[in-house]
């Protein structure tokens, strides 16, 4: 078999189609090429090599898009003639995509103003209403491999708005900060505060402080209010007190002409705090990959109105008792009762159980199961929000506990001590010189402003997350790195995480297979969508296929087909009516041609590479393996693992979560890291302190985990853990430095020596030191503890690679 790569999508051509002297892996890719070629759009292929996305032309009924209600979320603007709309297309990933989508008007001249946003993967366009419909545009996009994601309704928008607001505030703060610094110089050099020039500069500072106070500081006021309302001693309170103290002191000194005030310190403080906020938000917005489970569901179903008439309703509208239809290979969106005779449900999506379950008429089917056979009719038993899957999900999202982070801990004591120190200083000065009390209290509050403290944690953990991200571990919320550093128990999910299935089969045929038999098997399995069939097809390496006369597949059991004079049966032992000799843990496909049993293909379970070394390097952690699967591979794991590895099998999703709760209950100091790969690990992910989802080609479900790990970096987990630990040490170092600064600052303030000049130098310098230490420290740390890890050459590529699978998945569902 030739191993050419598809000209369009770069995948290896299993069943090569040649056209125009170019190889294509499937008809879909060829079709896209033809469309583009016919429209003189070959330039697409010259921008990047093999830029295309494999087009899976599953016949999809998009009629519901003709209903204005369903497209409303995507419409930005509409008048009599023109509509402007926008949606996300997950497969946008390179320059060629941008070019193709922005030149779509060449394919259909009713499309106008096409605009791609590569970063957000969004596509906005206008179209002439009377000439083309929304549905036709979507169909056109699907045809060329760019399926829009019609389940997401611009989730990132609010985040984007917050970020824009920060940019605006940052700009104003920077502008005012710069000007105020300039106007403060004369004061530093001792200009006479009563001269006309001296006063003018002071008044200019007042003018520039006003936007800082009334506009830039708004987030800090609201945060302080929240802290007060929830009775939390957070850093927001000293920040708020500091701002107020600075403002009052500045205004007082300038109005009474007793001094130059602290406008420079105020502006600097706000500017650096805003900078910190902006950076921490930016990293969050970059990692918006979490997907709602609903995005795997069909968007709409066909509902029977009067037993014969069908209408399209969205799944949210389904009510108890409704009679509806689910197509083959679709996920059942709500808990239902089967109305058809029989259904074969694959619950792997929810429970991780690999084997499908047969359901008879009148029995219950839980949401999240996938119908494997033909289409079925169902009665709604529970609506969407009260269905089993929704309840698991809600439970997962509700258990957000307020964690006792190091930052919270620090800020609590910091806030308390600042208030106590200012009171003590005030009291002492009341005894010495009562007239100075207000001044002293205010200057303590001014200088104790926890700028360095407030930005040290976000900066350090942000830089650390960036370094980790470059090496394949994507943490979705920067402050979670602290949880990662505290881990002492590690729980692995078994199937998919430490074991991988679906490699090429081992042939177990006593007499071998003749060429004709191989060809026959390849021809039959080619017709089947089953993953095992696909693997066998790959192993057979046949490209000259026979035509099949009759084909019958019993999903989950086997295939019975006829080709010419041959009658072939393949599948499970029970399907062929023989005794199963193969070992329990591996899947086998048995072959019978013309009544003669030939042997079987065995699919071995393989361990993820580097697992033994990984387990050995994790001696300091308690390791657990939990699985929803049977105990089949226990002996392999036993051989490989150190003695303290605890193994549990046959666990349902909520049992996994309970198991974690139990560990926490018995060991109060347990910090649990859960590593898994599917939605079935979802509840366990929520119960654990830190969760990592493994991403590879085969795994497309992104549960709501704290981090995603590129499968190739799996065996480096110990290094990631070490790095996180060291990063947290750096944070502590920064806290220490910030305390040293504060100690000196407070001494000055308590002694009544704080001048505007000292304050103006002191505050930015402390912030800058902390920023420098976190940046430089993380750089050194990553050089030291992550040096063995390869750089991900392109993180965007990594994300797309996984998202590509998601696109595929959505289509299959």
């Amino acid at each position: 078999m030739s191993k050419k790569q598809c000209y369009h999508c770069n995948e290896v051509c299993i069943n090569e189609i040649t056209h125009d002297n170019k190889s294509f892996c499937c008809l879909g890719c060829k079709t896209v090429y033809q469309i583009l070629h016919d429209n003189q759009m070959d330039f697409y292929y010259s921008i990047e090599n093999n830029p295309g996305i494999r087009a899976h032309n599953a016949p999809e009924n998009l009629i519901y898009l003709d209903d204005p209600v369903h497209i409303q979320p995507f419409i930005l603007y509409e008048d009599d003639r023109i509509v402007r709309a926008s949606f996300t297309i997950p497969s946008i990933h390179c320059a060629a995509c941008v070019w193709l989508l922005e030149n779509m008007f060449k394919l259909n001249n009713n499309l106008l103003n096409l605009e791609v946003n590569l970063g957000e993967r969004s596509f906005s366009f206008s179209y002439i209403k009377d000439q083309i419909s929304f549905r036709e545009i979507v169909e056109l996009l699907i045809k060329i491999g760019y399926s829009p994601s019609l389940n997401d309704h611009h989730k990132g928008d609010s985040q984007k708005k917050i970020q824009t607001a920060y940019i605006a505030k940052l700009a104003v703060a920077g502008f005012c900060f710069g000007n105020i610094m300039l106007f403060s110089f004369p004061a530093y050099f001792g200009i006479d505060k009563n001269s006309f020039m001296g006063q003018s500069f002071d008044w200019l500072n007042i003018i520039f402080s006003i936007p800082i106070l009334l506009y830039c500081s708004i987030p800090f006021y609201t945060d302080a209010l929240v802290s007060i309302r929830t009775k939390q001693m957070s850093l927001n309170i000293p920040i708020f007190l500091g701002i107020i103290a600075l403002a009052i002191q500045t205004f007082w000194e300038i109005f009474t002409q007793t001094g130059h005030g602290y406008a420079d310190s105020l502006a600097g403080l706000i500017f650096f705090l805003l900078l910190g906020r902006w950076i921490q938000n930016r990293s969050i917005d970059y990692l918006n990959f979490e997907r709602d489970y609903k995005s795997f569901f069909p968007i709409w179903v066909e509902k029977y109105e009067l037993d014969y008439l069908t209408t399209h309703v969205s799944i949210q509208e389904l009510e108890k008792g409704d009679h509806y239809k689910v197509k083959a290979q679709c996920i059942i969106p709500v808990d239902s009762i089967l109305k058809s005779k029989k259904a074969l449900i694959d619950y792997s999506f929810v429970s991780g159980e690999a084997h499908p379950v047969a359901i008879k008429e009148g029995q219950k089917i839980f949401a999240g199961g996938r119908q494997l056979g033909s289409s079925i009719e169902l009665l709604v038993d529970r609506n969407l929000s009260s269905s089993y899957l929704s309840r698991i999900w809600d439970q997962m999202n509700k258990t957000v506990t307020t964690q006792q982070t190091i930052l919270n801990f620090m800020s609590k004591y910091f806030t308390l001590s600042v208030i106590i120190i200012s009171l003590l200083a005030g009291f002492s000065w009341y005894l010495i010189a009562p007239s100075k009390v207000v001044m002293i209290v205010v200057s303590v509050l001014i200088v104790a402003c926890p700028c360095a403290l407030a930005i040290s944690f976000p900066f350090t953990s942000n830089f650390a997350c960036l370094e980790l991200r470059r090496r394949g571990l994507f943490i979705n919320c920067y402050d979670k790195i602290e949880e990662l550093s505290n881990v002492n128990h590690i729980i692995f999910d078994k199937t998919g995480t430490i074991l991988t299935k679906d490699s090429l089969p081992v042939e177990n045929f006593p007499n071998g297979l003749s060429f004709m038999q191989q060809r026959l098997i390849a021809s039959v399995v080619y017709e089947s969508e089953h993953p095992l069939s696909q693997s066998i097809f790959l192993a057979m390496k046949q490209d000259n296929l026979l035509s099949i006369n009759s084909y019958h597949e019993l999903p989950g059991h086997g295939i019975h087909a006829k080709a010419g004079d041959y009658d072939i049966k393949l599948g499970k032992a029970s399907f062929l009516g023989i005794k199963d000799d193969s070992s329990d843990l591996n899947s086998a496909v048995h072959i019978n041609i013309n009544g003669h049993y030939l042997g079987y293909f065995e699919f071995e379970t393989t361990l993820r590479p580097g697992l033994k070394e990984l387990f050995n390097s994790l001696q300091n952690y308690k390791l657990h393996i939990i699985s929803g699967d049977h105990a089949g591979d226990d002996d392999i794991l036993e051989k490989l693992s150190p003695e303290h590895l605890i193994r549990k099998y046959n666990m349902k999703p909520d049992e996994k979560a309970n198991y974690i709760e139990k560990i926490k209950h018995t060991d109060k100091n347990a910090k649990i890291l859960m590593i898994g790969d599917g939605l079935n690990d979802g509840p366990a992910f929520m119960a654990s302190d830190f969760s990592i989802a493994i991403c590879n080609q085969k795994n497309q479900y992104f549960p709501s985990s704290d981090a995603m790990l590129e499968a190739n970096s799996f065996h480096e987990i110990n290094q990631f853990l070490l790095f996180a630990k060291r990063a947290m040490k750096l944070v502590k170092l920064n806290f220490f430095i910030s305390f040293v600064y504060n100690f000196f600052g407070l001494s000055f303030a308590c002694l009544g020596l704080l001048s505007p000049l000292i304050s103006a130098i002191f505050m930015p310098v402390s912030s800058l030191t902390v920023i420098f230490i976190s940046q430089f420290g993380i750089f050194l740390l990553s050089k030291q503890s992550l040096r063995n890890l390869k750089f991900m050459n392109n993180e965007l590529h990594f994300k797309v690679k996984n998202l590509k699978n998601n696109v595929f998945l959505n289509k299959v569902l």
Binding site: F43, F175, L204
Partner: protein
């Protein structure tokens, strides 16, 4: 010396107008997308010629 005050006022007006322009651009979405324009500028120019060349080669 008082002329400095005059200069300062002018400089504030000028820099203030830059700030206003910045705000206008922020509203217009200049800072919403950093990646695409960088890519787009490389495509737009040679678009027509390359398409033709390719088209000719493929007959």
């Amino acid at each position: 010396m008082e002329v400095i005050l005059f200069l300062i006022i002018i400089s504030i007006l000028i820099s203030g107008s830059f700030l206003i322009v910045f705000f206008y651009m922020l509203k217009r979405g200049q800072f919403r997308d950093f990646k695409t324009p960088a890519v787009r500028i490389l495509l737009e120019d040679d678009n027509e010629t390359k398409t033709n060349n390719k088209g000719n080669q493929n007959g």
